[in-house]
């Protein structure tokens, strides 16, 4: 009797088809449009247009600032939470973890709408504080994505390392910055990646709190909605390259971690 009905290779076929149809082909379409003009001729005009225009570069920088702020606030809020969830000594830990991740269960649109209403009541008009509103909504939206990887990284951190540091005479603060923080860096990196990139390109949040803030996501959106495929595509390609760079950078750290794991297993 044959042991397996399907070989591994065969099992991968459905996803390969999906990948080909919805990732690979669109990617080439994107690149094609990015490097052609409206008549279909190869050109770098779109590319030059992006870097030549003060408006687009400004949007790019503004997006980066927004994403940075979002990420920093998320990190500041998430780290203590993740630390106490992972290392705190209290009962019903699972319930607490669930409570912090609970926002993810509620529909995204609903959450932002609710927040928008609250802000409108507090501020009168959302247009007064576009930057603040954007960052606040994004922090609210992305916080669980920061908590989870941090929580996992801190859970993995062996308690005996903390005890060893205390044993060697470190104060609580020294334990934190000499042992806990350096060992949670992989978690920080993956949390940052999971918050920074989406918040740079997010456009739904901005659309929903309809304010005048303009970031990369909204820029692409506005090009596409005016049927300017070429300029929209080139910005997408540029963003893609940036994401690629960030991912490669964070991969270096994860690779290091894997080497550590391997040698521990030995």
């Amino acid at each position: 009797m044959k042991k397996n009905v399907f070989s591994r290779r065969q099992l991968a076929v459905p996803y390969a088809i999906f990948l080909f149809l919805f990732v690979i082909i669109p990617l080439f379409v994107l690149i094609y449009f990015g490097f052609t003009d409206e008549n279909g001729r190869i050109s770098f005009a779109n590319f030059l247009h992006f870097f030549g225009s003060g408006k687009t570069i400004g949007t790019l920088l503004y997006s980066i600032v927004i994403a940075l702020c979002t990420t920093i606030f998320c990190l500041i809020l998430a780290y203590p939470v993740a630390f106490f969830l992972a290392k705190g000594n209290f009962g019903r830990k699972q319930v607490w973890i669930m409570l912090f991740v609970l926002p993810m269960w509620i529909n995204f649109t609903l959450r932002i709408t609710a927040l928008k209403e609250i802000l409108t009541v507090l501020e009168g008009n959302l247009a007064y504080h576009p930057f603040f509103n954007t960052v606040l909504c994004m922090v609210y939206d992305f916080l669980p994505f920061m908590i989870l990887p941090l929580y996992q990284a801190l859970c993995k951190l062996d308690n005996s390392l903390i005890e060893a540091a205390l044993d060697l005479g470190a104060s609580e603060f020294q334990v934190f910055y000499k042992v806990v923080f350096p060992l949670s860096i992989p978690g920080i990196i993956s949390g940052v990646t999971m918050v920074f990139l989406p918040s740079m390109t997010n456009y739904v949040v901005l659309d929903m709190v309809y304010n005048s803030t303009y970031i990369m996501g909204s820029l692409i959106g506005s090009y596409f909605s005016s049927y300017d495929w070429n300029n929209g595509s080139v910005i997408s390609v540029i963003l893609l390259l940036m994401i690629c760079a960030v991912t490669l950078l964070s991969e270096r750290f994860t690779k290091q971690e894997q080497i550590e794991k391997k040698s521990v297993l030995k």
């Binding site: 390392l161 005890e163 540091a165 205390l166 044993d167 060992l183 080497i259 550590e260």
Partner: protein
Amino acid sequence: MKKNQNLIELRHIKKCYDGNTIVTEDFNLEIKKGEFVTFLGPSGCGKTTILRMIGGFELPTSGEILLNGEDISVLPPNKRPINTVFQKYALFPHLNVYDNVAFGLKLKKIPKREQDEKVRHALEIVDLEGFEKRSIQTLSGGQQQRIAIARAIVNEPELLLLDEPLSALDYKMRKEMQLELKNMHKKLGITFIFVTHDQEEALTMSDKIVVMADGEIQQVGTPEEIYNEPSNLFVADFIGESNIFKGRMMDKRKASFCGAVFDCVDDYEVGTIVDAVIRPEDIEITTSGRGQIQGKILSSDFKGTFYIVLVRSGKNEIEIHSLKNYQPDTVVELYIAPDLIHLIPYDSSINHYEGVITAYSEEKGVHVEFTDFGWDVKVEQIFPNGKLINKNGQPITIEGLKVEASFQPSIAQLSDDAQAGVVQGRIISFLYVGDHYRYTVRSKSEEDYVVDDEYLWNQEDFVSILIPKEKVTYRVWDGKNKKL
């Protein structure tokens, strides 16, 4: 202040978790400066918890820990001049060997040059010179272990705690590290407290062994004392192999067990019930006629340097370590020299239970309620003259009187039918005693019952205990001066 030569003193240490689980109730121990002390016991006996309390990672629920006469029981670990070698080494993976070892020195702001010198010296002690720049991940288990030791001793602590540090190493490496640790202890003059469940390790390395079981100290002594003169059956059974026989003192320095009378060195009052402990290597197989008992060889298994020979004599099965091989069914004689028989008097404190008389009626007798169960007893069993009247001829009220019941382990029996016996519980330990097993059963309310049974049960088995009512002895508490 009075000069105190005890480096560390544990006084009435009590430790509970979540208010319920009691690890230890009243733990007392003194350790002198420079000693190599080993806490030895089966897993879950509380030895690591005691060590962690000394290290400051856990706080005692009550009691005092004195270091050089000063109470340190609530000091955090970073304020104690004590360093620990952890079971899983706990080396910092993000630092290299040098930074790991220098971790404590850097915190103390010791000048860089002195730091280098100390780290170099510590690495020299653990035989890893020149490893400063290596990353932790490139080290083998044994090397990581050594770095963990170097990281602790570089701080020159007064006391070094070692929590089963060799358990993750393979056999050969473990043997090697045992010797090295012992040498290190001699060289450094630091007091070591070593925790292990490996009795061989404890016997090889320590100056003093603290045998623990169930949160209590069973015996404290040198390895020789622990091995040759175990103070109770648990120690006898836990340390090394032993044959245990139930016996009785017959005459001065004469004990009977295994169906014969033996001369021995230990002496107790004639008639005392004793347990005789004899190591398998102390029994001589002879055919010369000078043996005290006869037996038949059951089996003989080669163990490298000796044979394990099983001999059946009457109902007893006796284990002997012999240099010679014997064919099964050979009839042999066994000789045991007087000084190799170790007698332990029967622990009369076991199987004593406090109860209260709750009711009395002519037809049912006296109803006694214990922690785990209650039953009706004939009046004569508690009040030998059978009359419930006092000197003046007036009837006395017996309700509310406290009684103490006790029984011999041999009268009780175990059953797997929960309804069959009066008490149910789990077997927490057992040992083989000549022709039967002795079980300690713990009930839900944490009472221990010691029961002899000839059948083999397993630890953790849920059993019920059959206690024949009529064989239990009772004593009335006068309720004034006695205290349970």
